[in-house]
Symmetry: C2
Subunit: 190 residues, 2 copies
DNA sequence: AAAATAATGTGATGTAGGTCACATCAAAAT
DNA sequence: ATTTTGATGTGACCTACATCACATTATTTT
């Protein structure tokens, strides 16, 4: 698990054993059960979470109680309420587990400490953020330019593993379609 | 103009005169006329652009020729085709001027050089990227959870200056509504 | 200042996708 | 193993919003 995390970082920067141990010492492992919440609206948010195993979702409920999914996170992904974490305001989203999961917690404080002490890791986090920015832009373009069935196909292309783990009604809530419509898109196989 | 740019950076980090001059020496000013293109699909993209004055838009055309706006950029904003820039692939968006504009160009190469030579500026760009990430997440939530008229109100709240510069049909293309629907939302004043 | 071009408003009509209702099937929980 | 709870499918109907068409009013361009 530790080596898996190291590989994740070493996709972007290379590390000595001492550097990795130093970095790793700032993280706290946490085991979570299905349905367990990490964040609820109103909470103060101190951590970013790196997913070692399992699957989580970040979402909001609208005024009719309908769920809208901002983000999934599987193995290898980072997730939290970034608005709350970065701006120091209360959470506006729910973050919970779709299945039993393990995460590594990193407080914002420790992240900033790491970044100021180790230039390399600041490079890592900058690259991660840049990559995330591009991914979000692509999702916005997908929402603006594509129909429900096109968006479904795009998501399937991009993250096929997701469809093994996540019920289709959650896929629908991520794509911005009703579960009924998503089901019909399938049967009609457009 | 130069001091305006310096202020922009000093909102996040503080600089000595030498440091600022060093940073500024990596930027190239460029004047642009209304309708002028900075990027078209297929182009290779080497620069990020910081807007000194004017207003630009980044957009795609869908298969029916309809425009969908990914991003506006007014004074103080950064804009480019980030996917193309970061991944080193060809552009997939148009970037052009809504009015006469002035920008500062920074090549990716120079940005990376700056970041490796001056830890402070890497901090700056990391914070910028984090902020941008949060803004995009909020836009996705807005697209998922809100109706056309709610999205209009949210945008008006967030960037009132935008409505002085940008014709409503472009606002519509940003919100993901037809210009006719946007016009009707107004008259009905929901 | 005139001509050309772009922006906006508004009616009539079309449609993708939403909502509601209920049936079936799968998976947890006791 | 049985009960409870959640996931999926499908029909009937509804509604935001899109599209098309044309009139009106700004804003550029020459």
């Amino acid at each position: 698990m530790k080596s898996f995390f190291r590989q994740h970082i070493e996709k972007i920067i290379s590390l000595t054993d001492e550097e990795f141990d130093f970095i790793y010492s700032h993280f706290t492992p946490k085991k979570l059960r299905k349905h367990q919440f990490l964040i609820e609206p109103g909470d103060s948010v101190v951590n970013d979470y790196f997913v070692l195993s399992g699957c989580l979702k970040a979402y909001q409920l609208d005024k009719n109680g309908k769920m809208h999914i901002l983000q999934f996170a599987m193995q290898d992904w980072w997730i939290t309420d970034y608005q709350a974490l970065y701006k120091g305001i209360n959470a506006t989203i729910f973050l919970d587990c779709i299945e039993d999961s393990e995460v590594l917690c990193l407080s914002l404080h420790d992240r900033e400490k790491l970044c100021s002490e180790l230039h390399k890791i600041e490079f890592f986090f900058r690259k991660k953020s840049n990559g995330g920015y591009v991914a979000l832009q692509q999702r916005i373009l997908s929402l603006l330019t594509s129909s429900a069935s096109e968006r479904y196909e795009q998501l399937l292309q991009l993250y096929p593993q997701l469809f093994q783990k996540v019920p289709k009604q959650l896929i629908a809530a991520y794509l911005g379609v009703s579960r009924e419509t998503l089901s019909r898109l399938h049967s009609q196989a457009k």
